[in-house]
Protein backbone atom coordinates (compact mmCIF):
# COMPACT_ATOMS: atom_id res chain seq x y z
CA UNK A 1 0.00 0.00 0.00
CA UNK A 2 3.03 2.32 0.24
CA UNK A 3 4.06 1.96 -3.34
CA UNK A 4 3.19 4.50 -6.01
CA UNK A 5 4.29 4.07 -9.62
CA UNK A 6 5.54 6.68 -12.10
CA UNK A 7 3.21 6.57 -15.11
CA UNK A 8 3.10 8.75 -18.23
CA UNK A 9 0.04 10.91 -19.01
CA UNK A 10 -1.47 9.83 -22.31
CA UNK A 11 -4.61 11.95 -22.38
CA UNK A 12 -6.62 14.11 -20.00
CA UNK A 13 -10.37 14.50 -19.54
CA UNK A 14 -11.55 16.80 -16.73
CA UNK A 15 -10.49 15.32 -13.37
CA UNK A 16 -9.32 12.05 -14.88
CA UNK A 17 -6.56 11.04 -17.23
CA UNK A 18 -5.22 7.92 -18.85
CA UNK A 19 -1.74 6.96 -17.72
CA UNK A 20 0.51 4.38 -19.26
CA UNK A 21 3.49 2.27 -18.21
CA UNK A 22 5.08 -0.36 -20.46
CA UNK A 23 1.94 -0.68 -22.52
CA UNK A 24 -0.44 -0.95 -19.55
CA UNK A 25 -3.00 1.86 -19.43
CA UNK A 26 -5.09 2.84 -16.45
CA UNK A 27 -7.48 5.58 -15.52
CA UNK A 28 -6.20 7.97 -12.89
CA UNK A 29 -7.88 10.71 -10.82
CA UNK A 30 -5.99 14.02 -11.07
CA UNK A 31 -8.51 16.24 -9.28
CA UNK A 32 -6.32 16.63 -6.19
CA UNK A 33 -3.09 17.68 -7.89
CA UNK A 34 -1.91 21.22 -7.14
CA UNK A 35 -1.50 21.90 -10.86
CA UNK A 36 -2.94 20.30 -13.95
CA UNK A 37 -0.53 17.88 -15.64
CA UNK A 38 0.36 17.90 -19.32
CA UNK A 39 0.43 14.99 -21.72
CA UNK A 40 3.82 13.32 -21.64
CA UNK A 41 4.52 14.26 -18.02
CA UNK A 42 4.99 11.54 -15.43
CA UNK A 43 2.66 11.24 -12.46
CA UNK A 44 3.23 9.34 -9.25
CA UNK A 45 0.13 7.12 -9.23
CA UNK A 46 -1.10 5.39 -6.09
CA UNK A 47 -4.21 3.19 -6.16
CA UNK A 48 -5.74 5.14 -9.04
CA UNK A 49 -4.89 8.58 -7.59
CA UNK A 50 -2.22 10.91 -8.93
CA UNK A 51 -0.38 12.26 -5.88
CA UNK A 52 2.43 14.20 -7.59
CA UNK A 53 3.76 15.36 -10.95
CA UNK A 54 7.28 13.97 -11.00
CA UNK A 55 9.91 16.68 -11.11
CA UNK A 56 12.28 15.72 -13.91
CA UNK A 57 14.86 18.37 -13.02
CA UNK A 58 15.07 17.17 -9.41
CA UNK A 59 15.61 13.63 -10.67
CA UNK A 60 18.46 14.79 -12.92
CA UNK A 61 20.01 16.90 -10.14
CA UNK A 62 20.14 13.94 -7.74
CA UNK A 63 21.76 11.73 -10.39
CA UNK A 64 24.32 14.45 -11.19
CA UNK A 65 25.22 14.81 -7.48
CA UNK A 66 25.57 11.06 -7.18
CA UNK A 67 27.85 10.93 -10.23
CA UNK A 68 30.09 13.59 -8.65
CA UNK A 69 30.22 11.65 -5.40
CA UNK A 70 31.09 8.37 -7.08
CA UNK A 71 33.62 9.88 -9.48
CA UNK A 72 35.27 11.70 -6.58
CA UNK A 73 35.53 8.51 -4.58
CA UNK A 74 36.92 6.58 -7.55
CA UNK A 75 39.63 9.25 -8.02
CA UNK A 76 40.49 9.22 -4.30
CA UNK A 77 40.74 5.46 -4.16
CA UNK A 78 42.42 5.12 -7.55
Amino acid sequence: MCLAIPMKVVNICDDFCTVELKGVKKSCFIGFLDEKPKEGEYLLVHAGMAIKIINEQEAKDIIDELALLIDGELKNSG
Binding site: M1, C2, L44, A47, G48, I51, N55
Partner: protein, 365 residues
Protein backbone atom coordinates in the same frame (compact mmCIF):
# COMPACT_ATOMS: atom_id res chain seq x y z
CA UNK B 1 12.05 12.09 -18.67
CA UNK B 2 12.11 8.30 -19.18
CA UNK B 3 15.87 8.35 -18.64
CA UNK B 4 15.75 10.54 -15.52
CA UNK B 5 13.33 8.14 -13.84
CA UNK B 6 14.89 4.90 -15.05
CA UNK B 7 18.32 5.96 -13.84
CA UNK B 8 17.18 5.19 -10.30
CA UNK B 9 17.04 1.53 -11.37
CA UNK B 10 20.35 1.72 -13.24
CA UNK B 11 22.46 -1.33 -12.42
CA UNK B 12 25.85 0.29 -12.98
CA UNK B 13 25.15 3.36 -10.82
CA UNK B 14 23.60 1.20 -8.12
CA UNK B 15 26.58 -1.14 -8.09
CA UNK B 16 29.01 1.77 -7.81
CA UNK B 17 27.15 3.35 -4.91
CA UNK B 18 26.73 -0.03 -3.24
CA UNK B 19 30.49 -0.70 -3.44
CA UNK B 20 31.22 2.76 -2.08
CA UNK B 21 28.86 2.22 0.87
CA UNK B 22 30.22 -1.25 1.62
CA UNK B 23 33.59 0.40 2.27
CA UNK B 24 32.18 3.47 3.99
CA UNK B 25 30.25 1.54 6.66
CA UNK B 26 33.45 -0.10 7.84
CA UNK B 27 34.48 3.18 9.45
CA UNK B 28 33.58 2.19 13.00
CA UNK B 29 29.87 1.98 12.37
CA UNK B 30 27.55 -0.22 14.42
CA UNK B 31 24.16 1.12 13.50
CA UNK B 32 20.49 0.15 13.65
CA UNK B 33 18.55 1.80 10.84
CA UNK B 34 14.76 1.54 10.89
CA UNK B 35 12.88 1.55 7.64
CA UNK B 36 9.39 2.74 8.61
CA UNK B 37 7.60 1.51 5.49
CA UNK B 38 6.67 -2.11 4.75
CA UNK B 39 7.45 -1.74 1.07
CA UNK B 40 10.94 -0.57 2.00
CA UNK B 41 11.32 -3.75 4.06
CA UNK B 42 10.45 -5.90 1.07
CA UNK B 43 12.59 -3.89 -1.35
CA UNK B 44 15.62 -3.91 0.95
CA UNK B 45 15.37 -7.68 0.89
CA UNK B 46 14.68 -7.89 -2.83
CA UNK B 47 17.67 -5.73 -3.73
CA UNK B 48 20.00 -7.77 -1.55
CA UNK B 49 20.70 -4.94 0.91
CA UNK B 50 19.24 -6.44 4.09
CA UNK B 51 22.30 -8.35 5.25
CA UNK B 52 24.85 -6.77 2.89
CA UNK B 53 26.09 -4.15 5.38
CA UNK B 54 26.26 -6.34 8.48
CA UNK B 55 27.70 -6.12 11.06
CA UNK B 56 28.06 -2.35 10.65
CA UNK B 57 24.51 -1.50 9.60
CA UNK B 58 21.48 -3.55 10.59
CA UNK B 59 18.14 -2.72 8.98
CA UNK B 60 15.18 -3.00 11.34
CA UNK B 61 11.61 -3.18 10.00
CA UNK B 62 9.21 -0.61 11.40
CA UNK B 63 5.43 -0.38 11.82
CA UNK B 64 4.68 1.04 8.39
CA UNK B 65 2.32 -1.59 7.12
CA UNK B 66 -1.23 -0.23 7.37
CA UNK B 67 -2.81 -3.66 6.90
CA UNK B 68 -0.56 -5.16 9.57
CA UNK B 69 -1.56 -2.52 12.13
CA UNK B 70 -5.28 -2.84 11.39
CA UNK B 71 -6.55 -4.17 14.69
CA UNK B 72 -8.76 -7.14 15.43
CA UNK B 73 -11.59 -4.87 16.55
CA UNK B 74 -11.53 -3.17 13.15
CA UNK B 75 -11.62 -6.51 11.37
CA UNK B 76 -14.44 -7.64 13.68
CA UNK B 77 -16.38 -4.51 12.75
CA UNK B 78 -15.98 -5.24 9.03
CA UNK B 79 -17.07 -8.86 9.50
CA UNK B 80 -20.06 -7.71 11.57
CA UNK B 81 -21.23 -5.37 8.80
CA UNK B 82 -20.88 -8.20 6.30
CA UNK B 83 -22.51 -10.98 8.34
CA UNK B 84 -25.09 -9.13 10.45
CA UNK B 85 -26.00 -6.11 8.33
CA UNK B 86 -25.86 -7.82 4.94
CA UNK B 87 -23.81 -5.09 3.31
CA UNK B 88 -21.50 -5.43 0.35
CA UNK B 89 -17.96 -4.90 1.66
CA UNK B 90 -15.69 -3.11 -0.81
CA UNK B 91 -11.98 -3.31 -0.04
CA UNK B 92 -8.46 -3.12 -1.36
CA UNK B 93 -7.10 -6.60 -1.94
CA UNK B 94 -4.54 -6.30 0.86
CA UNK B 95 -7.17 -6.88 3.52
CA UNK B 96 -8.79 -9.92 1.96
CA UNK B 97 -6.93 -12.70 3.76
CA UNK B 98 -6.15 -11.04 7.09
CA UNK B 99 -7.42 -13.45 9.76
CA UNK B 100 -9.51 -12.73 12.81
CA UNK B 101 -11.13 -15.43 14.93
CA UNK B 102 -10.53 -18.12 12.29
CA UNK B 103 -12.26 -16.03 9.60
CA UNK B 104 -11.23 -13.58 6.93
CA UNK B 105 -13.00 -11.60 4.22
CA UNK B 106 -11.83 -14.32 1.83
CA UNK B 107 -13.41 -17.15 3.84
CA UNK B 108 -16.61 -15.15 4.29
CA UNK B 109 -16.73 -14.51 0.57
CA UNK B 110 -16.42 -18.25 -0.04
CA UNK B 111 -19.44 -18.71 2.26
CA UNK B 112 -21.51 -16.47 0.01
CA UNK B 113 -21.10 -13.04 1.58
CA UNK B 114 -20.44 -10.29 -0.95
CA UNK B 115 -16.91 -8.88 -0.88
CA UNK B 116 -15.72 -6.79 -3.82
CA UNK B 117 -12.06 -5.97 -4.43
CA UNK B 118 -11.11 -2.62 -5.94
CA UNK B 119 -7.78 -1.20 -7.13
CA UNK B 120 -8.92 2.38 -6.59
CA UNK B 121 -11.34 3.71 -3.95
CA UNK B 122 -13.30 5.53 -6.66
CA UNK B 123 -14.23 2.17 -8.23
CA UNK B 124 -16.49 1.62 -5.22
CA UNK B 125 -18.98 3.98 -6.85
CA UNK B 126 -19.53 1.54 -9.73
CA UNK B 127 -20.07 -1.30 -7.24
CA UNK B 128 -22.72 0.75 -5.42
CA UNK B 129 -24.45 1.72 -8.67
CA UNK B 130 -24.81 -1.93 -9.66
CA UNK B 131 -26.69 -3.06 -6.55
CA UNK B 132 -29.60 -2.03 -4.34
CA UNK B 133 -27.75 -3.30 -1.27
CA UNK B 134 -25.91 -1.05 1.16
CA UNK B 135 -22.20 -0.91 0.33
CA UNK B 136 -19.38 -0.12 2.74
CA UNK B 137 -15.87 0.75 1.60
CA UNK B 138 -13.08 -0.11 4.05
CA UNK B 139 -10.76 2.90 4.17
CA UNK B 140 -7.45 1.26 5.05
CA UNK B 141 -4.04 2.86 4.80
CA UNK B 142 -1.97 5.76 5.97
CA UNK B 143 -2.22 9.34 4.76
CA UNK B 144 -1.41 8.11 1.23
CA UNK B 145 -4.79 6.48 0.71
CA UNK B 146 -6.86 9.11 2.49
CA UNK B 147 -7.19 11.30 -0.64
CA UNK B 148 -8.67 8.28 -2.41
CA UNK B 149 -11.28 7.80 0.31
CA UNK B 150 -11.98 11.53 0.25
CA UNK B 151 -12.41 11.50 -3.54
CA UNK B 152 -14.83 8.60 -3.20
CA UNK B 153 -16.99 10.55 -0.76
CA UNK B 154 -16.88 13.79 -2.76
CA UNK B 155 -17.79 11.99 -6.00
CA UNK B 156 -20.55 10.05 -4.22
CA UNK B 157 -22.02 13.36 -3.06
CA UNK B 158 -21.77 14.79 -6.55
CA UNK B 159 -23.49 11.76 -8.12
CA UNK B 160 -26.02 11.45 -5.28
CA UNK B 161 -25.08 7.88 -4.41
CA UNK B 162 -27.22 6.93 -1.39
CA UNK B 163 -26.24 3.33 -0.73
CA UNK B 164 -22.53 3.85 -0.13
CA UNK B 165 -20.66 4.66 3.09
CA UNK B 166 -17.14 4.19 4.35
CA UNK B 167 -15.53 3.03 7.54
CA UNK B 168 -12.23 4.68 8.23
CA UNK B 169 -9.39 2.49 9.42
CA UNK B 170 -6.89 5.13 8.30
CA UNK B 171 -3.82 5.46 10.51
CA UNK B 172 -1.66 8.47 11.37
CA UNK B 173 2.02 7.84 10.67
CA UNK B 174 3.19 10.89 12.60
CA UNK B 175 1.27 9.79 15.69
CA UNK B 176 2.85 6.35 15.75
CA UNK B 177 6.35 7.73 15.40
CA UNK B 178 5.62 10.12 18.28
CA UNK B 179 4.13 7.31 20.35
CA UNK B 180 7.15 5.08 19.82
CA UNK B 181 9.47 7.97 20.56
CA UNK B 182 7.66 8.84 23.78
CA UNK B 183 7.74 5.20 24.87
CA UNK B 184 11.45 5.01 24.23
CA UNK B 185 10.80 2.33 21.61
CA UNK B 186 12.58 4.13 18.78
CA UNK B 187 15.80 2.24 19.47
CA UNK B 188 17.40 3.19 16.23
CA UNK B 189 20.28 5.38 15.01
CA UNK B 190 18.41 6.61 11.95
CA UNK B 191 15.07 6.30 10.18
CA UNK B 192 14.23 5.88 6.53
CA UNK B 193 10.90 7.70 6.24
CA UNK B 194 8.05 6.66 3.91
CA UNK B 195 8.42 8.25 0.50
CA UNK B 196 4.83 8.22 -0.67
CA UNK B 197 3.19 9.27 2.58
CA UNK B 198 5.65 12.17 2.38
CA UNK B 199 4.69 12.90 -1.24
CA UNK B 200 1.18 13.64 0.08
CA UNK B 201 1.91 15.33 3.41
CA UNK B 202 5.39 16.86 2.78
CA UNK B 203 8.55 15.99 4.67
CA UNK B 204 7.98 18.82 7.12
CA UNK B 205 5.09 16.74 8.52
CA UNK B 206 7.64 14.60 10.33
CA UNK B 207 9.69 17.47 11.74
CA UNK B 208 8.82 16.52 15.34
CA UNK B 209 11.10 13.51 14.99
CA UNK B 210 13.99 15.86 15.61
CA UNK B 211 12.87 16.03 19.25
CA UNK B 212 13.90 12.36 19.57
CA UNK B 213 17.37 13.24 18.23
CA UNK B 214 17.22 10.62 15.49
CA UNK B 215 18.36 11.65 12.01
CA UNK B 216 15.81 10.77 9.36
CA UNK B 217 15.71 10.73 5.58
CA UNK B 218 12.73 10.56 3.21
CA UNK B 219 13.51 7.87 0.69
CA UNK B 220 12.07 6.49 -2.55
CA UNK B 221 11.74 2.84 -3.49
CA UNK B 222 14.20 2.11 -6.28
CA UNK B 223 17.56 0.49 -5.44
CA UNK B 224 19.42 3.76 -5.91
CA UNK B 225 16.88 5.59 -3.76
CA UNK B 226 17.48 3.31 -0.78
CA UNK B 227 21.26 3.53 -1.08
CA UNK B 228 21.07 7.32 -1.41
CA UNK B 229 19.01 7.33 1.77
CA UNK B 230 21.58 5.25 3.62
CA UNK B 231 24.39 7.48 2.35
CA UNK B 232 22.56 10.59 3.52
CA UNK B 233 21.94 9.05 6.95
CA UNK B 234 25.64 8.25 7.29
CA UNK B 235 26.45 11.87 6.42
CA UNK B 236 24.01 13.11 9.08
CA UNK B 237 25.33 10.71 11.71
CA UNK B 238 28.93 11.73 11.01
CA UNK B 239 28.04 15.41 11.31
CA UNK B 240 25.84 14.91 14.37
CA UNK B 241 22.74 16.23 12.54
CA UNK B 242 19.35 15.25 13.98
CA UNK B 243 16.77 16.68 11.58
CA UNK B 244 15.11 15.47 8.41
CA UNK B 245 16.57 15.35 4.93
CA UNK B 246 14.94 14.25 1.68
CA UNK B 247 16.64 12.38 -1.15
CA UNK B 248 13.35 11.70 -2.96
CA UNK B 249 12.98 15.29 -4.16
CA UNK B 250 11.59 14.28 -7.58
CA UNK B 251 8.42 13.25 -5.70
CA UNK B 252 8.50 14.92 -2.29
CA UNK B 253 8.48 18.59 -1.32
CA UNK B 254 8.69 20.21 2.09
CA UNK B 255 4.97 21.10 2.20
CA UNK B 256 3.51 18.21 0.18
CA UNK B 257 0.36 18.26 -1.94
CA UNK B 258 -1.60 21.29 -0.77
CA UNK B 259 -4.93 20.23 -2.27
CA UNK B 260 -4.72 16.79 -0.74
CA UNK B 261 -3.89 18.19 2.67
CA UNK B 262 -6.86 20.55 2.41
CA UNK B 263 -9.26 17.75 1.51
CA UNK B 264 -7.88 15.50 4.25
CA UNK B 265 -8.40 18.27 6.81
CA UNK B 266 -11.87 19.00 5.42
CA UNK B 267 -13.16 15.44 5.63
CA UNK B 268 -11.21 13.88 8.47
CA UNK B 269 -10.36 14.48 12.11
CA UNK B 270 -7.74 12.76 14.26
CA UNK B 271 -9.03 10.19 16.72
CA UNK B 272 -7.43 7.92 19.28
CA UNK B 273 -7.26 4.48 17.81
CA UNK B 274 -5.97 0.99 18.42
CA UNK B 275 -2.86 -0.07 16.51
CA UNK B 276 -2.33 -3.83 16.43
CA UNK B 277 0.28 -4.85 18.93
CA UNK B 278 0.82 -1.30 20.13
CA UNK B 279 -2.42 -0.60 21.92
CA UNK B 280 -4.33 2.66 21.93
CA UNK B 281 -2.39 5.45 20.23
CA UNK B 282 -3.37 9.07 20.87
CA UNK B 283 -4.46 10.65 17.57
CA UNK B 284 -3.39 7.36 16.00
CA UNK B 285 -6.18 7.30 13.46
CA UNK B 286 -8.60 9.34 11.44
CA UNK B 287 -12.40 9.36 11.27
CA UNK B 288 -14.82 11.43 9.20
CA UNK B 289 -15.85 14.83 10.44
CA UNK B 290 -19.47 15.17 11.66
CA UNK B 291 -20.66 16.94 8.50
CA UNK B 292 -19.94 13.67 6.66
CA UNK B 293 -21.93 11.47 9.06
CA UNK B 294 -24.14 10.32 6.17
CA UNK B 295 -21.11 8.62 4.62
CA UNK B 296 -19.80 7.20 7.88
CA UNK B 297 -20.79 3.56 8.28
CA UNK B 298 -20.21 3.81 12.05
CA UNK B 299 -23.06 6.37 12.14
CA UNK B 300 -25.28 4.85 9.44
CA UNK B 301 -25.54 1.43 11.07
CA UNK B 302 -26.28 0.44 14.65
CA UNK B 303 -23.86 -1.83 16.46
CA UNK B 304 -26.03 -2.76 19.47
CA UNK B 305 -25.26 -6.48 19.23
CA UNK B 306 -21.62 -6.08 18.17
CA UNK B 307 -19.43 -8.45 20.21
CA UNK B 308 -15.68 -8.46 20.18
CA UNK B 309 -13.24 -11.16 21.33
CA UNK B 310 -9.65 -10.04 21.67
CA UNK B 311 -7.46 -12.59 19.93
CA UNK B 312 -4.42 -10.37 19.45
CA UNK B 313 -2.84 -11.90 22.52
CA UNK B 314 -2.14 -14.99 20.43
CA UNK B 315 -0.11 -13.05 17.90
CA UNK B 316 3.10 -11.12 18.60
CA UNK B 317 3.09 -9.18 15.34
CA UNK B 318 3.21 -6.06 17.52
CA UNK B 319 6.75 -6.79 18.70
CA UNK B 320 7.81 -7.32 15.09
CA UNK B 321 6.12 -4.08 14.01
CA UNK B 322 8.15 -1.94 16.40
CA UNK B 323 11.40 -3.73 15.69
CA UNK B 324 11.65 -5.37 19.12
CA UNK B 325 12.09 -8.78 17.56
CA UNK B 326 12.72 -10.10 14.09
CA UNK B 327 10.17 -12.58 12.70
CA UNK B 328 12.35 -15.63 13.26
CA UNK B 329 12.23 -14.86 17.00
CA UNK B 330 8.46 -15.46 17.00
CA UNK B 331 7.69 -19.05 18.07
CA UNK B 332 4.93 -19.33 15.47
CA UNK B 333 7.00 -18.11 12.53
CA UNK B 334 7.39 -20.76 9.81
CA UNK B 335 6.00 -23.38 12.23
CA UNK B 336 2.32 -22.48 12.54
CA UNK B 337 2.36 -19.13 10.79
CA UNK B 338 3.05 -19.27 7.06
CA UNK B 339 1.60 -17.41 4.08
CA UNK B 340 -0.80 -20.34 3.56
CA UNK B 341 -1.83 -20.48 7.23
CA UNK B 342 -1.23 -16.98 8.62
CA UNK B 343 -1.89 -16.26 12.28
CA UNK B 344 -1.37 -12.52 11.99
CA UNK B 345 -1.44 -9.84 9.30
CA UNK B 346 2.35 -9.47 9.14
CA UNK B 347 2.39 -12.78 7.27
CA UNK B 348 -0.51 -11.78 5.00
CA UNK B 349 0.12 -8.26 3.79
CA UNK B 350 2.47 -7.81 0.84
CA UNK B 351 4.10 -5.16 3.04
CA UNK B 352 4.21 -7.42 6.09
CA UNK B 353 7.58 -7.93 7.75
CA UNK B 354 7.03 -11.63 8.41
CA UNK B 355 6.03 -12.27 4.79
CA UNK B 356 9.13 -10.39 3.64
CA UNK B 357 11.38 -12.53 5.82
CA UNK B 358 9.57 -15.72 4.80
CA UNK B 359 9.81 -14.87 1.12
CA UNK B 360 13.34 -13.49 0.95
CA UNK B 361 15.35 -14.97 3.75
CA UNK B 362 14.30 -18.49 2.78
CA UNK B 363 15.30 -17.79 -0.82
CA UNK B 364 18.63 -16.49 0.42
CA UNK B 365 18.99 -19.51 2.67
Amino acid sequence: MDDAINLFKNKELTQKLFSYLKERVKKNYNLRIMEFCGTHTHNIFQYGFRYAFLPHVRFIAGPGCPVCVTSDIELALAFYLLEKKGVVIITYGDLLKVPYNDKSLATLRSEGYQVEIVYSAIEAINVAKNTDKECVFLGVGFETTMPGTAALIELSKKENIKNLSIVSFHKNTKAIIKALGNLGELKTDGILLPGHVSAVVGWEYFSEISSYSIPSVVVGFEPLDILLGLNELLDMIEKGEKGIKCVYSRAVTEKGNKKMLEVINKLFKKVDCHWRGLGMVKDGGFDLNEEYDFYNAKKRFSFNDFLFEDTEKHCICGDVLIGKIEPYECPSYEVFCTPETPIGPCMVSHEGTCLAYYKWSRING
